[in-house]
Symmetry: C2
Subunit: 184 residues, 2 copies
DNA sequence: CATACCTATTCACATTTTTGAGTATCAGAG
DNA sequence: CTCTGATACTCAAAAATGTGAATAGGTATG
C-alpha cells in the first residue's frame, strides 16, 4: 500500500486518487486505506500531521518517512509472491453462457464494453495530463517518474483488449444464433 | 462456482480443471471448492455420489441437479455486481519503480513475461484440443459449448498483452537508463 | 527398499475483505 | 430553512479467503 505515497495526502485524498490511477491493478475500500495508514504509522513508515480546518473536519496529512521510503525500495526488490489475481464475474457468466441466459450475457458484455470505453477515455485524459504536451519519447526521457505512466499504459491496453474481445464475442454470438435458427 | 459443473466430477478433478481453464479469471484453493460443494449440496444444487475405489481413496462425484441448472441460468441473467477485480503485485512495483530498485523491477517484468509465455503455450494447446482439427469458424458454428472457448480467448489475449506491454516497458527502461547515464 | 510425489479430502485457524452503519461539519439547491 | 451531498473519518461484525498441515493408501524413481 505504500505504493501511493509520493506526496503528502489525506486518507480521503488517497481514496480518490486510487480510483483514478491505481484502481486498474489494485482495488480498495476507504476502510482498508485507513487501516493500512494506521498500521504504517504505528510501524513508523509514515507520519501524520493534523491539519485543522475551519470549515471542514480536521484531516490528517500523511507523508512517507525515510524508513517508509526504504521499505518501498525493499518491497520492489523482493520477489513477487503471486503472479496476479483476476476475478471477473463477466467471464464466469460467459463460461456458463451455453447453459444460461444468452440474451442477458450479451447485454452484460455490451455493458462491459461501454464501461471500458468510459474508462479508456478517462485514462486517455489522465495520460494527456501526464504528457503535458510532450511526446511519449520526451516524457520517458525527461519525466521524474515513469512508473505511473507505465501502469497507466497497461490499464489502457487492458481496456482496449476488453473492447476488442467483447466486439468479437458479440459478433460470434450473433453469427451463432443466426446459424442455429437457420438450422432449426 | 456453479460455473464448473458441466459434467460429473470429483472435487479433486475440479481443482485441477480449474487450473487449466478458469484460473484465468477466477482463482481458488481446494478448500474453497470443497466448502462450496458442501454448501451447494446442502442447498440441493448438486448431488453427490460416492464411488468406492479399490486402489484409491473413495471419492464423491458431484453433478448438477435440475435446481442447480436453474440457478446457473438465473445467475447469468442477474446483473453483474462489480466490473472486475484485478490485483497485480507486479504493477504495484512498477508504480513505485522510480523510488525503488529499478534492476529488480526489470527482472520481475522479465519473469512475468516468461510466465506469460508458458501460460500462452498451455492455452494454445488447450485451444487446439477444443478445436480438434476444426477451424474457429466451424467450431463456433458446430460446438455444443462456446462459452469456455470465448473465455479461453480472453485469457490468451490477456497474456499476449502482458508480453507486449512487458516488452515495451523493458525497452523504455533501457532507453531511459542509457539516456540518464549519458546525461550524467 | 526408501523416498517422494499423486490422489482425495478434511480440519482448524488466521487473515483479509466486504458490508453497513454512525459521527460531524459545511456548501449549495430548492 | 430543510435537504441533499460532499468532506473526513471510525467502528463492529459478518463473510470470504488463504495457510498449513494431517490422513492414508498408491504409484513411480532411483
Amino acid at each position: 500500500m505504500a505504493a501511493l505515497l509520493k506526496g503528502e495526502a489525506s486518507g480521503y485524498d488517497l481514496a480518490k486518487a486510487f480510483d483514478a490511477t491505481v484502481a486498474n491493478f489494485w482495488m480498495s475500500t476507504p476502510q482498508q486505506l485507513y487501516r493500512e495508514l494506521d498500521r504504517m504509522e504505528a510501524e513508523g513508515l509514515v507520519t501524520a500531521r493534523v491539519v485543522e480546518q475551519e470549515r471542514r473536519p480536521n484531516k490528517r496529512l500523511f507523508s512517507l518517512t525515510e524508513a517508509g521510503r526504504k521499505a518501498v525500495h525493499a518491497y520492489t526488490a523482493e520477489p513477487l509472491g503471486k503472479p496476479a489475481v483476476v476475478r471477473d464475474e463477466l467471464l464466469v457468466k460467459v463460461q456458463c453462457l451455453d447453459a444460461g441466459d444468452m440474451e442477458a450475457v450479451r447485454t452484460a458484455i455490451a455493458e462491459r464494453m461501454e464501461w471500458a470505453t468510459a474508462k479508456l477515455a478517462r485514462y486517455e485524459r489522465l495520460r494527456q495530463r501526464l504528457l503535458d504536451g510532450r511526446s511519449e519519447e520526451a516524457y520517458f526521457a525527461e519525466a521524474e517518474r515513469i512508473g505511473p505512466y507505465l501502469t497507466l499504459l497497461r490499464g489502457m491496453s487492458f481496456e482496449r483488449e476488453n473492447l476488442q474481445w467483447g466486439d468479437m464475442a458479440l459478433r460470434r454470438l450473433e453469427q451463432r444464433t443466426a446459424a442455429l435458427r437457420a438450422d432449426g
